[in-house]
C-alpha cells in the first residue's frame, strides 16, 4: 500500500485512495434507489453520493464541493432532502432513496423538471439536479407545515411565498446565478406566480 502524502486526498470523499494507516474496511448495505432494491459491498468510507455515482452509475446527482456547502448532491432519503456527500452509504441500510433519475425522465418530466425547462432555471446545469430535488422537497416541507427563518409567525401555516422559497433554497448554490428563474419555476409548481 502506498502512503498518501498528508493533504493529497483532502478532497477525496471515497475509499478510492488507500489510507496511510489501516486496510479498507468493507461493509454490506441494502438500499432501495428509485424503486429498485440494490445491494452493495462498500468500503465504509463511501459516501451515499459516491455509492450512487460510482457504484450504481446514477450520475445525475452531482459532486460539487463534497462538503455540504453547495447542495449539488441533494437527494431524498425516506422523503427528506439531504446532502448525499455528508452521509455514509453504510448508514442507510433499508432506506429509500430518490435521485433526479427517480423524479422523471426526458420523455416523462416531473412537474418541477418541466418548470425549470420552461423558466430557464439554469445555465450550465451542473447544480440543477440538486436544485430540483431540493425544490420538490421544499414544497413538501411547506405542505407539512415546517416553518423557516423568514416565517413571520412560528405558529401559523407557512405559505410558498417568494421570500420563503428563497430562504428554503439557500442550501443550493448556483454559480451561474440563475436564482430568479429558479424561484419562478418553483413558484409556478407551488401554484403561486413569482
Amino acid at each position: 500500500m502506498t502512503a498518501a502524502p498528508s493533504g493529497a486526498n483532502a478532497q477525496a470523499g471515497t475509499g478510492d485512495m488507500p489510507s496511510a494507516v489501516g486496510e479498507p474496511a468493507m461493509s454490506k448495505v441494502a438500499i432501495t434507489v428509485n424503486g429498485e432494491a440494490r445491494e452493495l459491498d462498500l468500503d465504509t468510507r463511501t459516501t451515499l453520493l459516491d455509492a450512487l455515482r460510482e457504484h450504481l452509475h446514477l450520475t445525475g446527482t452531482k459532486k460539487g464541493c463534497d462538503h455540504g456547502q453547495c447542495g449539488a448532491c441533494t437527494v431524498m432519503v425516506d422523503g427528506q432532502r439531504i446532502n448525499s456527500c455528508l452521509t455514509l452509504a453504510v448508514m442507510h441500510e433499508g432506506d429509500t432513496i430518490t435521485t433526479i433519475e427517480g423524479l422523471g425522465a426526458p420523455q416523462n418530466l416531473n412537474a418541477m423538471q418541466a418548470a425549470f425547462v420552461k423558466h430557464d432555471g439554469y445555465q450550465c446545469g451542473y447544480c440543477t439536479p440538486g436544485q430540483i430535488c431540493s425544490a420538490v422537497a421544499v414544497l413538501d416541507e411547506i405542505r407539512a407545515g415546517i416553518p423557516s427563518h423568514v416565517s413571520g409567525d412560528l405558529t401559523a401555516t407557512p405559505q410558498a411565498t417568494v421570500a420563503e422559497l428563497r430562504e428554503r433554497m439557500s442550501g443550493n448554490i448556483c454559480r451561474c446565478g440563475a436564482y430568479s428563474n429558479i424561484v419562478e419555476a418553483i413558484a409556478e409548481v407551488a401554484g403561486r406566480p413569482a
Binding site: 477525496a12 474496511a25 468510507r45 462538503h67 427528506q80 455528508l86 405558529t155 430562504e167
Partner: protein
C-alpha cells in the same frame, strides 16, 4: 479519509461502552464529523452509528418541560408544535442555522458537539492548538474577523458555531448523558461547553465515550422569544454576532450571545440591566472583551443587535 470499521449500536449503554475504546467515535447525523474526516482533521478508526437508538422523541416531562431525544433532527425540533408555541427562541435559533438539507440530518446532540469553523482549524497546513495541541494558534495575528472577542485565551480565539446552543443556554437546558460504565448524569448547559484556556481541544464536559441521550428544557417561562442573527449573507452563514433573548412584559428577561466566544455567552449580571437598555446590557456582557483589530467591530455590533432585539420585544 482514513479507513475505519463501522458498527450500529443497539442501546445507549452498549454504545458508550464501545466508544471508550481508543479511536472510536459516535456518528449520528454526520454532517460535521464527515466533513472533518474528509479533511483528516478527525481520524476515527472505528465509528459507532447511534441512529438505531430510540432517542428521537420529544416528550413532555412531569415538571411541564420537554425532554428532547439526542437524535431529534434539527428540522423536527424546530417544527415541533410545543417548541414553536412555548420555546419559540429554540425554533428561531435552529431555523437561523445551516440549510434545509443539513437540518434534516443534524441532531440535537450533534449540534451541541459541532466543532468551530475557524479557518485555521480547518487548514491542516496551519498550526492550531485545538486540532493539534501545542502547535500554536495561527488565528492570533491572522485573519480574525470571525473570531472570539471575549473568553478567549492565548492558545485559541475560536468561536462556537452553534445557534441552537445559544437558545439552549437562555432556556437553561440540561444535557443528559450515559457514561461508559453505564451510569447516567445531568450536566447544566452552563457547565457543558468550556472556554479554551490552556486546553482548547477539550471543548465540553463529556468524558471519553460519554453519550448524550437527551436535552431537557424546564417548563416554559412565557415572554417574547427572539433570536437575532447578524451574518455576511442573509441565509446559510455562521453568525458574526447573534443574540437569543426572552423578554418579559416588565422589561426583565434572559439573554445570551453567539458568535463572540468559545461557548454561548451569557452573563447573569447583564440581564439585570435589560430594563435600562442595550448599551447597559452590552457593557456588562462584554466587560472583559479583548477583541483583535479585525473583530473589534463586533463590540458595537453586539450593542446594536441587542438594541434591535429590545425594539422587537417592545412591538
Amino acid at each position: 479519509m482514513r479507513s475505519f470499521t463501522y458498527e450500529r449500536a443497539s442501546s445507549p449503554a452498549e454504545a458508550a461502552a464501545a466508544a471508550s475504546a481508543e479511536g472510536a467515535k459516535f456518528i449520528a447525523g454526520g454532517t460535521n464529523l464527515l466533513d472533518l474526516m474528509k479533511l483528516e482533521i478527525e481520524t476515527p478508526t472505528h465509528l459507532i452509528d447511534v441512529n438505531d437508538l430510540a432517542l428521537d422523541r420529544i416528550e413532555t416531562t412531569p415538571e411541564g418541560g420537554l425532554r428532547i431525544g439526542a437524535l431529534v433532527r434539527n428540522t423536527d425540533l424546530a417544527a415541533d408544535e410545543r417548541v414553536r408555541r412555548d420555546y419559540g427562541l429554540l425554533s428561531r435559533a435552529l431555523l437561523a442555522g445551516a440549510s434545509g438539507q443539513l437540518r434534516n440530518k443534524a441532531t440535537t446532540a450533534g449540534n451541541l458537539l459541532q466543532r468551530t469553523r475557524c479557518p485555521y482549524f480547518y487548514d491542516t497546513n496551519q498550526p492550531c492548538n485545538k486540532r493539534q495541541p501545542g502547535s500554536g494558534c495561527a488565528a492570533i495575528g491572522g485573519f480574525s474577523r470571525q473570531h472570539a472577542v471575549i473568553g478567549a485565551s492565548e492558545m485559541c480565539i475560536a468561536t462556537h458555531p452553534s445557534d441552537m446552543a445559544v437558545a439552549m443556554r437562555v432556556l437553561d437546558a440540561t444535557v443528559e448523558t450515559v457514561r461508559p460504565d453505564g451510569t447516567a448524569r445531568s450536566i447544566p448547559i452552563a457547565e457543558f461547553h468550556r472556554l479554551p484556556g490552556d486546553t482548547p481541544h477539550v471543548e465540553n464536559a463529556l468524558i471519553p465515550g460519554e453519550l448524550i441521550t437527551a436535552v431537557t428544557l424546564p417548563r416554559p417561562v412565557g415572554g417574547t422569544h427572539i433570536y437575532h442573527k447578524v451574518r455576511d449573507r442573509a441565509s446559510y452563514a455562521f453568525a458574526l454576532v447573534s443574540a437569543g433573548a426572552i423578554v418579559q412584559r416588565d422589561g426583565t428577561g434572559h439573554i445570551a450571545l453567539g458568535g463572540v466566544a468559545h461557548k454561548p455567552w451569557r452573563v447573569e449580571a447583564a440581564e439585570a440591566e435589560l430594563p435600562r437598555g442595550a448599551k447597559a446590557v452590552a457593557e456588562q456582557l462584554l466587560a472583559d472583551a479583548k477583541p483583535t483589530q479585525e473583530n473589534a467591530f463586533k463590540l458595537p455590533l453586539v450593542e446594536r443587535t441587542l438594541a434591535a432585539v429590545l425594539a422587537e420585544a417592545r412591538t
